[in-house]
């Protein structure tokens, strides 16, 4: 018997995300009682007007940030996959930042230690998801993500097949 992945993280749907930054404001408001995207654990990237996506921690298996930390300041919870930062050990050297492929772990502008999404564990649910006006953010497992991608792909194939049959008539 294999165990289904239970680890959940926040994923943004690129078709729905419009780059409005509401998630950034919701995050900094929740975590820092201030409106300041620089203190948000989720950040928006707008490559051009059509390509917008919010990015945050993906709670990787065997996370590179944890591996990279020379001071063992970062640990990952076996149960939830959340990364926690030991503020006394972290000296802001930035190896974890360099190791993260998603820019999801950042150096806090004031405390000078790194910080990362914790899914708002004290709030019960991630506040960015709650506030997103587009419902573009979702808490997913890697299995669910794969399923969604699969279904979308098959739907597309199916559509093309239909169009092909139509044109042959």
């Amino acid at each position: 018997m294999v165990k289904i992945h239970e680890r959940k993280f926040i994923s943004a749907d690129p078709d729905k995300c419009v780059g409005c930054q509401v998630c950034e404001y919701a995050c900094s408001m929740t975590k820092e009682k201030a409106f300041n995207p620089l203190k948000s654990r989720i950040r928006v990237v707008r490559i051009n007007q059509l390509i917008n996506l919010s990015v945050t921690c993906r709670l990787c298996e065997n996370p590179p940030c944890v591996v990279a930390c020379p001071r063992d300041a970062l640990t990952q919870s076996e149960e939830t996959g959340l990364i926690s930062v030991d503020k006394d050990k972290c000296n802001g050297c930035g190896w974890c930042i360099e190791a993260c492929d998603y820019g999801a772990i950042m150096l806090h502008p004031e405390s000078k230690v790194v910080y990362v999404c914790d899914l708002c564990k004290d709030k019960g649910e991630p506040q960015c998801i709650k506030w997103c006006p587009e419902e573009a953010l979702e808490l997913v497992t890697s299995d669910v993500l794969a399923q969604k991608a699969r279904i979308t792909a098959v739907k597309k194939l199916f559509q093309e097949a239909i169009e092909e049959t139509r044109s042959k008539r």
């Binding site: 419009v18 930054q21 509401v22 404001y25 201030a34 300041n36 007007q49 006006p133």
Partner: protein
């Protein structure tokens, strides 16, 4: 202080010196922020009669008290104010996106730009550090290219930039200031004022926290407005968007077509919002902190203008389309993209091209004058070519870049009667001949022809009044709408969200108090809206404008609508205009010449400005 950063940045481009002064709290409370604060600061920092392109004409950049918060649509706006090179009176334009919020986080309510740099520079505001940097490598670049280049040079992707294009560098009177690639402070030619200072761009990085006095209460209110914004009040903007107006206006015969030769367009179906959304809209995106999203990004998928990408709204679609007789959305989209590229106001560009086409059809402009362009109404390629010429100030474009009014003065031969401008500013997509409440609103608008200073067309279009009749009572209606619109532009919330303020003034007063901590009643807020109208009027009076300038384009007053349908035969006579103006001035408590009285100014607590009317 909450809501306000409490600081105003002064930049002297001539000497390169900058200094910060505390925000005058009296100004903040009386004029709120945005255009209100901007206009008061402009008055305080300028001398009467200054030429718009003189270094001593200040260009003011202002945020509002809501800027930088999470308030939906309110967090993200900024306003530019100066003396307009089109009207020689109030010039003001706002834009949304993510620029205003950054400036607020950098710790400024306003920036006052004076002087003229020796060579092209850009202003880099990095919180407390303010520098003028060489922009010679940015010369000739579009606002979008400038934004990318500055981000690269300064090495931060999240820096926000507002920039002018080549049109602003070359002092085109229709030049605008663009931020976030597609968001324009479009009207009244302020891009040229920026260009006259040799200022290519303003780049900002702000890292300060924005806080509110009672966070939980504020967030409750934000939540409520997030819900309201999902409802019917904003549905239009979230679905078809403003291009929905094309078919609505056409059915009422109130869509100026072919430079006001007609009021309905036989090609309306082809350029309808419905068609645009079906074939061109690729995605609807949103500004920072917005819970609505309205920005319809259009992409041309095939044909000669393939891969064009731009935002599209009704006014710009109308100006480059029906107003030029053009019924091709691919070309209109291309024209729009080019206006963003060169940094010109797409409304003014379209209306000026419509004017040029009218001149061409009447033989006032010859094919030689037009560099061989066959500028017949409806020639889509010609429209696109003329946008390009205007943008570069090349050939005929050099004259047309001055806008319809000044171009007509240069062209002569009776073309003045064809220029559809008010106070030198090109008209927008409402046929004023058959929308008489709107006609009054447009005539008295302090920044020239504009629907965004009053929204009075709503009474006409929605059938709340007989739109074909000029009668007493309209003055009061326009006045009340103006006051509200002044507040919207001084808070700087988005006009598309206005319907979500169900109770209007009480809702806005609650918002103001939640953000600033200053108690304010709806009545006091109303008075602030009135005060802002009066300060704008005082600027225009000081700069020599008056009743004579509260007028309408020649065609609106002399050429009745020829088209069959509900508006046939309509126009606005001088008698009607006089009646409307008298009624409006009376409602405002101004003299018959449209000058605020000393009593009115005292009543509004504007004693410090009385000398303007006592001269």
């Amino acid at each position: 202080m909450y809501g306000y950063a409490g600081r105003v940045l002064h930049v002297d481009l001539t000497s390169g010196k900058t200094h910060v002064e505390p925000l005058n709290e009296d100004y903040a409370r009386k004029y709120i922020g945005g255009i209100g604060l901007g206009m008061r600061l402009w008055l305080a920092n300028s001398k009467a009669g200054v030429d718009p392109f003189n270094p001593e004409n200040p260009l003011i950049l202002a945020t509002g008290p809501i800027s930088g918060t999470m308030w939906p649509t309110g967090g993200n706006g900024h306003a530019f104010v100066s003396k307009s090179p089109q009207s020689f009176g109030v010039g003001e334009a706002k834009a949304h996106g993510s620029f205003g919020t950054e400036l607020k986080r950098a710790g400024y309510d306003a920036v006052i730009l004076k002087g003229k740099a020796e060579k092209l520079v850009y202003l880099w505001i990095d919180d407390d550090s303010v520098q003028l940097l060489d922009a010679s490598s940015l010369m000739g670049k579009s606002p979008g290219e400038t934004e990318d280049a500055i981000k690269k040079e300064l090495g931060d992707y999240y820096i926000r930039v507002a920039a002018i294009g080549v049109a602003g560098e070359k002092l085109s009177r229709m030049a605008c200031i663009i931020n976030d690639k597609t968001r324009a402070a479009g009207r009244t030619g302020l891009g040229a004022v920026m260009g006259s200072k040799n200022l290519k761009a303003i780049a900002v990085r702000g890292t300060c926290d924005i806080t509110v006095p009672k966070l939980d209460e504020f967030m409750e209110y934000v939540k409520e407005f997030h819900e309201r914004m999902k409802g019917p009040a904003t549905q239009k903007y979230r679905t078809l968007g403003t291009p929905e107006n094309v078919l609505v206006h056409n059915s009422l015969s109130c869509m100026p077509t072919r430079n006001y030769n007609n009021s309905r367009f036989e090609g309306a179906e082809k350029v309808s919002g419905e068609n645009l959304n079906e074939k061109f809209v690729a995605k609807i995106i949103g500004c920072s902190s917005c819970a609505m999203r309205c920005e319809h990004m259009c992409v041309v998928a095939e044909g000669p203008y393939k891969n064009t990408m731009t935002r599209m709204e009704y006014e710009t679609l109308w100006a480059l389309g029906p107003y030029c007789g053009v019924d091709r959305l691919d070309a209109i989209t291309k024209g729009m993209e080019l206006t963003n590229y060169y940094g010109i106001d797409a409304i003014s560009a379209g209306v000026t091209i419509g004017f040029a086409m009218d001149c061409f059809e009447r033989g006032i402009l010859t094919p030689e004058d037009l560099d061989g362009i066959d500028a017949k109404f409806g020639n889509a390629e010609a429209m696109v070519q003329l946008v390009e010429k205007i943008g570069k100030r090349e050939g005929i474009g050099d004259i047309l870049a001055e806008g319809a009014k000044f171009a007509a003065q240069k062209i002569g031969k009776g073309s003045e009667k064809l220029a559809a401008t008010i106070k030198g500013v090109e008209i927008t997509g409402y046929d004023l001949r058959c929308l008489k409440t709107a006609a009054l609103g447009f005539a008295v608008s302090f920044r020239g022809a504009d629907h965004n200073r009053h929204g009075a067309y709503a009474f006409d279009v929605k059938g709340k009044v007989n739109r074909l009749v000029a009668e007493k009572g309209r003055g009061k209606m326009v006045r009340d709408m103006e006051d509200t619109y002044n507040l919207i532009d001084s808070f700087i919330i988005c006009k598309f969200s206005r319907g979500t303020y169900y109770k209007e003034l009480p809702d806005m007063a609650k918002l103001y108090t939640l953000v600033t901590g200053f108690d304010i009643t709806p009545e006091e807020l109303k008075r602030a809206g009135e005060r802002i109208q009066n300060v704008a009027r005082l600027i225009n009076i000081r700069e020599g404008l008056g009743r004579k300038d509260d007028t309408l384009p020649y065609k609106v007053m002399h050429e009745p609508i020829p088209d069959e349908g509900p508006s046939k035969g309509a126009y606005v006579s001088q008698e009607e205009l006089d009646l409307l103006l008298d009624d409006y001035y009376e409602a405002r408590g101004w003299t018959r010449e449209g000058v605020p009285t000393v009593e009115k100014l005292k009543e509004l607590g504007m004693d410090d400005l009385i000398d303007i009317v006592q001269k």
